[in-house]
């Protein structure tokens, strides 16, 4: 992926080479790097803290990295809590959610964007309302619902809803993207005899790849970081997901014991790795070339 971007930018750069371009580049790198450091700062502190010993945690003046790096923290976290098991559960729920959410949001978004049917406006408001209902008050009723259908202490509550539209956020996102695609494309295909499903799958989906990639990343990410749902629906330790697992490293207010902050930080770094990799990998779908080739097909 890096190579394609690189090839592109080299090509572009070659085309419009000149001092203007070089100057622009210098300014760009300066601005972006400056902002990057600002954004990375707190994250770097997480990395630094994850390598500290208990006595390095709080010193003044502040120290980003300790004098000696304690790599042992990254060994200890695996024995302190069954992290591997938590990661496995998170991955299962995350992958199933991502698949279901992407497919169902695209289909439903397509329905809202391209079809006229009685009550569409009302349904759309209803859809948006589901984003607005504070999740806190649905917690107890949902818990009882899942108990009745026997889903408690299983991963079902975490991923099954994603196959049925999941969060309205994603449906709304897909609808917005479908609406930016000229209607003429559908009409032309329809005249050629394409069915609704064919138009959806062969014409529009390729054009909305950036949106699909966005949905996939966010669906995975939200599921990955979701704390409340797993907290409420999972009770056995072997079913826990990673965000629950992280709390094992959290010290209770009002109790002491050996400091664990450095372990929490190390576990947090492990926690962020899968989403980082996914984000990095899916980025190529945001690149203009793919969108364009779809349109020109």
């Amino acid at each position: 992926m890096a190579t394609s971007t690189q090839a592109r930018s080299t090509a572009v750069a070659a085309k419009s080479a000149g001092t203007h371009r070089v100057l622009g580049g210098i300014v760009w790198y300066a601005v972006v790097s400056g902002l990057g450091i600002l954004f990375m700062g707190p994250f770097l502190w997480t990395v630094g803290s994850s390598l500290k010993g208990p006595t390095d945690l709080y010193v003044y003046p502040p120290e980003l990295f300790p004098p000696t790096l304690v790599w042992q923290n990254y060994v200890e976290i695996w024995t302190f809590a069954p992290l591997l098991r938590f990661i496995e559960n998170s991955l299962v729920a995350g992958v199933l959610t991502t698949l279901g959410q992407t497919l169902s949001a695209a289909a439903v978004g397509y329905g809202f964007a391209r079809f006229k049917f009685p009550g569409r406006g009302a349904f759309f408001i209803l859809l948006m309302s589901t984003l607005i209902i504070p999740p806190q008050v649905m917690m107890v009723p949902r818990f009882l619902l899942y108990k009745d259908i026997g889903w408690l202490d299983s991963l079902f509550p975490l991923w099954v809803p994603a196959w049925f539209g999941g969060s309205a956020f994603f449906i709304f996102l897909m609808r917005q993207f479908f609406m930016t695609i000229p209607r003429e494309l559908d009409d032309a295909a329809e005249i050629d005899g394409a069915s609704g499903v064919q138009i959806f799958w062969h014409i529009l989906m390729p054009l909305t790849l950036p949106a699909v990639a966005t949905v996939a990343i966010f669906a995975f990410l939200w599921n990955w970081n979701d704390f409340i749902s797993p907290l409420i629906y999972l009770t056995s330790e072997h079913n826990f997901t990673l965000p629950l697992g992280l709390r094992f490293f959290q010290q209770e207010a009002g109790t002491g014991g050996e400091p664990r902050e450095q372990l929490l930080m190390a576990a947090s770094i492990i926690d962020t790795l899968p989403p980082i990799l996914l984000f990095f990998a899916l980025q190529r779908y945001f690149v203009r070339g793919i969108v364009m080739s779809g349109i020109k097909g």
Binding site: P42, P62, M139, F177
Partner: protein, 312 residues
């Protein structure tokens, strides 16, 4: 092409109601997964919470019907009800425009054709990935008036920090900073990037031929074409801001002196600290009515500036 499309569409539209009915049916089919999901996963719990809003319910004992008393209490007696609304709206006004503009700015920067954009996008995305338990520890330390790095820098420059999270005047703003840090490079930026990448290069080229400068191209090509994404980001940023909860809950817990006592915090405290689940449900329904009206206004307003290529 556009002219052809229009004639074509008028032609098909004239072709009769049988097709309309077929398409309406197809529309229902396409949205049916969500409809089913809505009925199963939302309707029941929602109806339950509506019912509970007319009861006194502490979760562990049976709910007792008390009519509209919860609503009356909220509007007339609860000492923090109006304050919590004020705090949530203040927060939204501070965080939404700033957040959307910064996200768009970052997205514009990161769609420039330079080597390394992929890496930089990931860097700006990172804060959104940091687990909240870790992020809170980090920010409490950054804002620490004595040993934190922020005040360390301010002191070195000869100033004094305002006390941040512990200050009745600055706490809310400090929370805005934390949220901006974690969110401007996340969802919103990615949606803007995806949208910016979707603007056909031909339009820029054509505008350039017509002699449009950088700003003119941005204003006349980019802004209208990404307006659906801007609208999307705006609506969701507003909803998310009014629902702001976790960051305050984990840092200031509403204080000091109710300076960060957001509506959702009030709701959460009622539900799971005071265990007045009935009252919390009433607060939820007041909130739903409020935000649905607001979203409706946003939808109406959007018709004047959001540009859909394929809308009808």
């Amino acid at each position: 092409m556009s002219a052809v499309g229009t004639t074509l569409r008028t032609a098909t539209r004239r072709s009769g109601t049988a097709r309309d009915r077929r398409r309406a049916f197809a529309g229902y089919l396409w949205i049916s997964p969500w409809l089913l999901g809505f009925v199963v996963f939302y309707l029941g719990p929602t109806v339950a919470s509506l019912y509970l809003s007319f009861t006194s319910y502490n979760v562990v004992s049976a709910p007792q019907w008390i009519g509209v008393n919860n609503y009356i209490y909220a509007f007339t007696k609860d000492p923090q009800f109006w304050n919590s609304l004020l705090k949530s709206f203040t927060y939204a006004i501070e965080a939404v425009p700033a957040g959307v503009i910064i996200s768009l700015g970052l997205a514009l920067l990161l769609t420039a054709r330079f080597w390394g954009t992929a890496l930089y996008r990931t860097i700006f995305f990172l804060p959104g990935l940091t687990p909240i338990v870790a992020a809170v520890l980090i920010w409490q330390w950054i804002f620490d008036p004595q040993v934190g790095p922020l005040d360390y820098v301010i002191n070195a420059a000869g100033g004094t920090g305002p006390g941040w999270l512990g200050s009745t005047k600055w706490a809310l703003f400090a929370l805005v900073i934390i949220i901006l840090w974690s969110s401007v490079g996340a969802n919103r930026m990615v949606i803007f990037i995806a949208s910016l990448e979707g603007v056909p290069q031909e339009l820029y080229d054509a505008a350039k031929v017509d002699g449009a400068g950088h700003f003119a191209r941005f204003w006349h090509v980019t802004v209208p074409l990404i307006s659906p994404s801007t609208y999307f980001n705006l609506v969701l940023a507003t909803i998310a801001s009014l629902q702001v909860f976790e960051v305050a809950f984990l840092t200031t817990n509403g204080g000091p002196d109710y300076a960060t006592w957001f509506y959702m915090l009030q709701l959460y405290q009622s539900a799971f600290v005071n265990f007045d689940m009935g009252y919390a449900s009433a607060l939820a329904w007041i909130f739903v009515v409020l935000v649905v009206s607001l979203t409706y206004l946003q939808i109406r307003w959007s018709e004047s500036w959001v540009h859909y290529e394929g809308g009808d």
